[in-house]
């Protein structure tokens, strides 16, 4: 194992650049992996793998404008690789659909600047008690859909209807806050 202290200053700079560039694409990579794998936890692992790949290639990364498509492709491959490793059913999205989805995800990621994250935090705090509990149970406690439905005493479909309403409420709240801030 190469110890970090053995890294030259140039290597360290290149590595830091690799981390920064990848971290700046984190949301997009996570979303792409989530879309392919349909498992947010696995998507986190994919992101870590992507970061590893990028860091290993730190010395010869593409230029800044070429980095995004390059890392996107690594993410796609890593996600498909993860699906194979886990012996899951093949992704239900065919390669052409994934290819079509990638630029749309990249575009959607552009909307998630830091101010949107800030607004999301505020809006989460303002969610109704039931919706808040639902979001916490799903995303913090990582309950499965079935567990979620069971806790709420609902069918699976109804539980996700409630969850989608919570997402809608958050979206509306974020939109209002961002518009207010610009004004």
């Amino acid at each position: 194992m190469t110890h970090a202290a053995d890294l030259s200053a140039a290597d360290a700079l290149a590595t830091e650049r690799a981390i920064r560039l990848t971290m700046a694409r984190r949301l997009e990579v996570m979303a792409l992996a989530t879309a392919i794998l349909r498992d947010a936890g696995l998507a986190e692992e994919v992101f870590q793998e992507v970061l590893l790949v990028v860091v290993r290639r730190a010395a010869d990364l593409p230029g800044d404008d070429g980095f995004a498509p390059w890392v996107r492709e690594i993410a796609r491959r890593q996600a498909l690789h993860a699906a194979r490793l886990r012996q899951r059913a093949p992704p239900c999205l065919d390669p052409a659909t994934i290819a079509d989805l990638m630029p749309v995800l990249a575009e959607a990621a552009e909307d998630w600047r830091q101010d949107r994250h800030e607004a999301l935090r505020t809006c989460l705090a303002g969610l109704g008690k039931r919706a808040r509990a639902l979001v916490e149970a799903r995303y913090r406690e990582d309950l499965t859909g079935d567990d979620l439905a069971q806790r709420l005493g609902l069918t699976l479909s109804s539980a996700y209807s409630l969850l989608s309403r919570a997402h809608r409420a958050l979206e509306d709240c974020i939109r209002r806050r961002l518009i207010r801030e610009v004004r």
């Binding site: 981390i19 971290m23 997009e28 998507a43 999205l93 749309v104 600047r113 830091q114 997402h167």
Partner: protein, 701 residues
């Protein structure tokens, strides 16, 4: 419009809780329906963001049904160990972990970059600072024992500080937060007025903090939130060049040279005497191979202008040589000395001010080590025949300005940098220097650092230029390397015949540009006895760099105006015996030194004014017209004189005079040239070389 039920189905699909039939429906929608794809992308993004936010706000990783994620501790570029740490961090060789800094319980070194990749990362700094990085946040561990600090580069952090133990600071390029005992969050947020700029937002939960920005210090108490003022921080985009940002177009050549903005750090933060090279936020353009990174400097004195916003040295203005107007190492100054051990800082101000030595009756000796000029400040110096001597680094931050009458002389024996953060806007060939247009100097004042530049440094110490920098006149390199950093631009001009003596070097890095901004028709645009090159032996280029020169008189035509001397033939670029013209490149087929022609139709006469154009010609108005008419009859195309033994390797010529733009002593000398290319704009069949000898060249070839 996607129905809410469709949202629920998509969310369920994303959780892997749909049936095969439902998956097929979703897959069909995503394949065939653009709106469905867009909504799916929005929901997926929201899912990830909400998950991050819920966990980040809790300040702890997820708990529940899942096994702990297999996280990576990224220790080095070539290796990774599977341990349960959710952070990636690095430290540099000189930054060993000795100060008891912990990231998720693991010892890390001061200077480390910590990134929370998936779940929050807890930092324990000095035993009294507990900092939680939200997912997606990156921060560098700075500070010192008892005065811990982090530099927030991305995202949000929550800080719990035990009172009465030590100081703690959260820094960013956009302000800083200082505390002694409190709990607060800090985020870097885009400005609503300008999405390209950011501001620092602090929410105080317990206690109070001081938020510092260009507007001064501000106390923020528990329950309050505040932000740094976005308008003062400028824009920051280290990932340029983007499409459409070209500012220098090379005439007669397909290649466009793109100059890149350097990040704006208008206020505080790093300086020429404390550059903080380890911060990529401040130095995204560094490759790590720059020579000045190796320079070490003894502790010097720091003179700081004590009255930012107050001009001095002009009529009815305070005396800039009054020690009371300066701070020496932060304390009132009693004796003002400018020397090679003393740094100068003109701090930022929202009120523009000038510290002016040039117009004083008794102009002082202006010898400086490092100089930093921040936003709103203007450091005017030199004097007729006096100039300014600079031993160290020079950094003009965005919104700052610096000028000197006479020569700015770069001296000393250390590698240094010159950096101009002012926004890259100049199109040099459109630069219309009209002496009667008094607004014109304003447009170039943030780029024109001096009348002359002269480089004379010992031990082959280099001076590396970042950003766009212009001299009014001369550019003289005696015995040391002058490096134009990647995507940067260095322009001498007007009344000048720039030269590089033996032992001297002008080296252009990737995408860099060098060329006179005016056509001084009576003089060669660059006379080289040393080296003119792209890259350095240990810093090969991967993208081409460009030297442009202007066309001269390549014919027998002579201007015989009433008050003139003869304007004879003149080479655009001269490579004298013993010089070299070459590239240090990874592949000369892809990246090399481009020698081309400045646009021939730029307004030569009006650039410099009649007196500057053909000095010592002094033309009357009617003579100017006559000269212009004659000038317009001349054929376009550059000439390059290459002495017999000039080493040529990795060079492309374009825009050559069709009569044979390469002036050689012996046609066979080309056989020794290596990797020579010719641009696509040369006329087919036109001769490339003209045989001349040295005597003829000197005697008006």
């Amino acid at each position: 419009m996607i129905a809410p039920d469709a949202d629920a189905l998509m969310l369920r699909h994303l959780d892997g809780a749909t049936s095969a039939a439902e998956d097929a429906i979703i897959a069909g929608q995503l394949r065939d329906d653009v709106a469905a794809r867009r909504r799916f992308a929005e929901l997926t993004m929201a899912l990830v963001a909400v998950r991050d936010a819920v966990r980040g706000a809790a300040g702890q990783p997820a708990r529940g049904r899942r096994q702990p994620l297999r996280m990576r501790w990224l220790l080095a570029a070539a290796a990774a160990a599977a341990v349960a740490v959710t952070a990636a961090w690095w430290w540099r060789p000189e930054q060993r972990p000795t100060d008891g800094l912990l990231a998720d319980g693991r010892v890390v070194g001061r200077g480390s970059l910590v990134a929370a990749t998936a779940t929050p990362v807890g930092l324990d700094l000095g035993g009294y600072c507990r900092v939680t990085l939200d997912p997606g946040a990156t921060a560098r561990l700075d500070g010192a024992p008892g005065a811990e600090a982090i530099t927030l580069e991305q995202g949000s952090v929550t800080c719990d500080i035990v009172a009465g133990v030590g100081a703690f600071t959260v820094r960013s390029a956009f302000g800083e937060v200082r505390v002694k005992g409190t709990r607060f969050t800090v985020s870097l947020v885009p400005s609503p007025e300008d999405p390209m700029s950011r501001r620092l937002v602090v929410n105080v939960l317990i206690g109070a903090v001081v938020l510092s920005g260009v507007g001064g210090d501000r106390l923020v108490q528990a329950g309050e939130s505040a932000s740094s003022r976005a308008a003062t921080v400028g824009t920051f985009n280290p990932t340029l060049p983007a499409a459409g940002t070209a500012i220098v177009t090379r005439e007669n050549c397909d290649q466009t040279v793109v100059s890149v903005e350097v990040p704006a750090i208008s206020v505080g933060g790093p300086s020429s005497h404390d550059p903080q090279f380890t911060s990529a936020a401040f130095w995204p353009q560094l490759t790590g191979k720059e020579y000045f990174l190796k320079s070490t400097w003894p502790k010097g004195k720091l003179l700081t202008w004590a009255k930012p916003g107050v001009s001095a040295g002009g009529r009815n203005q305070p005396d800039p040589l009054d020690p009371a107007n300066w701070l020496l190492d932060g304390k009132p100054c009693t004796e003002l000395v400018f020397d090679e051990d003393t740094d100068v800082l003109l701090p930022a101000s929202q009120t523009v001010y000038v510290v002016n030595f040039r117009d004083l009756k008794q102009i002082p000796r202006q010898v400086h080590r490092h100089i930093t000029v921040e936003s709103g400040a203007n450091f005017r110096g030199g004097g007729d025949g006096i100039g300014r001597q600079i031993h160290g680094n020079l950094w003009v931050k965005r919104g700052g300005a610096l000028s000197a009458q006479g020569a700015s002389q770069w001296v000393g024996n250390r590698h240094t940098f010159v950096r101009n953060d002012n926004q890259a806007l100049l199109k040099p060939w459109a630069l219309n220097w009209d002496p009667t247009n008094h607004d014109m100097p304003k447009s170039v004042s943030r780029f024109m650092f001096s009348q002359y530049f002269a480089f004379s440094k010992a031990n082959q110490a280099s001076t590396e230029f970042f950003g766009q920098i212009i001299t009014l006149d001369e550019f003289q390199v005696t015995n040391c390397p002058v490096i134009v950093a990647a995507n940067s631009m260095l322009l001498p001009g007007r009344n000048a015949e720039p030269w590089v003596r033996g032992g001297g070097t002008i080296a252009l890095m990737d995408g860099a540009f060098f060329g006179a901004w005016s056509n001084n028709f009576g003089r060669c645009d660059l006379d080289v006895t040393g080296n003119l090159q792209a890259g350095m032996p240990d810093r090969p280029i991967a993208r081409s760099a460009t030297v442009n020169v202007a066309f001269k008189n390549s014919t027998d035509a002579k201007y015989t105006g009433k008050e003139s001397r003869e304007i004879t033939r003149r080479a655009s670029l001269t490579l004298n015996a013993g010089s070299s013209l070459r590239s240090f490149t990874s592949d000369a087929k892809k990246a090399r030194l481009l020698i081309g022609m400045s646009p021939p139709d730029r307004p030569t006469r009006t650039i410099t004014g009649a007196d500057g154009l053909v000095t010592p010609l002094v033309l009357k108005p009617e003579e100017i017209t006559k000269f212009d008419d004659w000038f317009d009859t001349l054929p376009r195309g550059i000439t390059v004189y290459l002495a017999k033994d000039v080493a040529v390797d990795g060079v492309e010529f374009d825009g050559l005079w069709e009569g044979g733009g390469l002036l050689v002593q012996d046609p066979n000398q080309q056989s020794a040239w290596r990797n020579v290319f010719f641009g696509s704009h040369l006329k087919k069949g036109a001769p490339l070389t003209t045989r001349i000898d040295r005597i003829k060249k000197e005697a008006s070839w």
